[in-house]
Amino acid sequence: MADIVTSIISASLPLATPILFSAVGEVYNERAGVMNLGIEGIMAVTALASVWVTFSTGSYALGFLAAIVVGIAVALVHSFACVTIGINQLIAGLMIFSLAEGIADFGYRTVSAVVPPTVEPLQALNLFGLGEVPLIGPLFDQNALVYLAFALALVMGFVLYRTTWGLGVRGAGEAPQACDAAGINVNLVRHLCVLIGGLMAGLGGAAMTLGYLGIYQGGIVAGRGWIAIVVVIFARWSPYRAILGSWMFGLGFSVASNLIGSGVGIPYYVLLALPYVLALFVILVVHRGTKPPSALTVPFRRR
């Protein structure tokens, strides 16, 4: 029994990692006043880019760089459409989703027609030698991306709440006119936050393929980008609470896959639906007391 619990917890962390990266990025996005519903697509295209570049060059560093660059590039389209021009952010985000997903699937077909790219997932790092400690050991025996995601969430939480720049981000989404009067370039802040969102979703995509899958296939993101956006609501737009929310979904996915492996009588597809039912439940339960940033989805124009 203890073994099962340990393995579920151990597997939950890498599964939480892509969601955490994307959710923290989306927190910045939305705190600055821009919703990006394209995260799911960005994760797909960057998951492919990272595995393909790592496969062709043999360098994990270049794979990450590719994921970051592609993530930022797609986000740039979104920030141009929503911040510079100011079209409906929800529609724009959904189109970014289709666009990026289309590029990912198109790219995969073209690339895999030659050789489907496969890489060895990143090795686990036994942090501080704590990996052998019973029960909590698995928490410290993960790949570098897991640690990076949790560390980034903490750092970005600190920046958001404790620095002038973070105040500017929160202001851009809460009271853009006041920020503007205070001499902050609201739209510049928003552009940067959308790009940060793209970068983080890129890391999220890479965390799937380089982190544990080692391959790309159509549909591997399977809603994790959407779940990241639900996590943002659960977290009430806090990077710290996003850690908790992502881990909860990581556990959900981990429990589901453990049950699938254990051969209990519950049908495979019903188990797959568990994390989404959990998401619906989360939305229902946490909506009380959640207030999105006041200027979320409202384009800013200087009067």
Partner: protein, 345 residues
């Protein structure tokens, strides 16, 4: 009275934006094809030939119009009252399921009775699936964007489960049900093709929805709630009631889109039968300026690209995904240019 309610200058702006948007997206499309070593001109030829090269392919194109158009209408009625129903895909799947369940039971009835009953079942299925997020919104003020979206995944997985287990045709290799009784099929209008009544039903619905939105009190209230909920409330409009009517229309149309795929086109329920009609419908609605008649034109364009694209994939070996890229860039560039022009004036 203008049925669109738009001044003439805005309409001119629309023409310009469609022209510029088309050019921009065609440029990007050609660029991608060239980069991947395909000829843009040959690909276009393949698309047009695939969509209109024969009577059969032309009818297939119009068959594709129906789910896209109904999906778009489902999204846009709700959008008019600022209710973001991103769950059209899920409601379409559940509508298809209830249509299948009804049809498989109603084989004994003559078609004239069976088809309307199946349609009612599909409508109710779509409404039921939307009812959960809709009630969460009306009663608890839970934002519908995420609840409708998450329920898409649940719906798709429910259909996957059912078509691989409880209702799977035992002798079929693929995850799908047995065929529904022939009396419940939508009548074929052009012999030798699959061109069925559902295509007309879909086109008719766009005029019907246009009439409801712009010629009835209900439509006026729906639009008033969308433009300014507070003002509408003070004007005596019940926001909850018009959201409920919107939900009924939106979920029902999505359910009908699913039904038409089952009783008109495939005659069975298969796992993952929709290549994302619900999501594409959102693009169609946006491209059509969130107007039912605009959505009709946009759905024809999307259908040409989809059916032509499938032929292009078979013939020229260009992956179909490039069509999804093109569809998304068309919508994005038209919206961007439209907004850009209106900002400059």
């Amino acid at each position: 009275m203008h049925s669109t309610g738009l001044p003439t200058s805005l309409r001119l702006e629309k023409v310009e934006s469609y022209a510029i948007g088309a050019l921009v997206s065609l440029g990007i499309f050609s660029g991608i094809l060239l980069a991947m070593g395909f000829s843009p001109l040959l690909s276009f030829e393949a698309i047009l030939y695939g969509a209109f090269g024969s009577v059969f392919s032309a009818t297939e194109t119009f068959i594709r119009v129906s789910p896209l158009l109904l999906g778009a209408l489902a999204f846009l009625v709700a959008f008019k009252s600022r209710f973001f129903n991103i769950g059209v895909e899920g409601q379409l799947y559940i509508g298809a399921l209830t249509a299948y369940l009804a049809a498989s039971q109603l084989g004994g009835l003559p078609g004239l009775l069976a088809v309307p009953l199946v349609a009612f079942a599909a409508f109710a299925g779509g409404v039921a699936w939307l009812a959960i997020p809709l009630l969460m919104r009306i009663k608890l003020e839970v934002n519908e964007v995420f609840s409708t979206l998450v329920m898409n995944f649940v719906a798709v997985l429910v259909i996957s489960w059912l078509t691989t287990g409880p209702i799977k045709d035992p002798i079929a290799v693929n995850p799908q049900t047995a065929r529904i009784p022939e009396s419940t099929w939508l009548p074929v209008l052009i012999p030798g093709t699959r061109f069925h009544l559902g295509v007309f039903a879909a086109i008719l619905s766009s005029f019907l929805i246009s009439g409801i939105l712009y010629r009835t009190v209900l439509g006026y209230e729906i639009r008033a709630v969308g433009l300014n909920p507070r003002a509408a409330k003070h004007g005596g409009v019940s926001v909850a009631r018009s959201l409920a009517s919107v939900g009924l229309l939106s979920g029902g149309l999505a359910g009908l889109a699913g039904m038409i795929e089952i009783t008109g086109t495939s005659h069975l329920l298969a796992q993952g039968f929709s290549p994302g009609f619900g999501y594409q419908g959102i693009g169609v609605a946006a491209l059509g300026g969130f107007h039912p008649i605009g959505a009709l034109s946009a759905s024809i364009l999307f259908a040409i690209l989809s059916i032509g694209g499938e032929a292009m994939q078979r013939g020229a070996g260009v992956p179909i995904e490039v069509i999804y890229i093109l569809q998304a860039t068309v919508v994005l560039s038209v919206l961007i240019v439209q907004r850009w022009i209106s900002l400059r004036r």
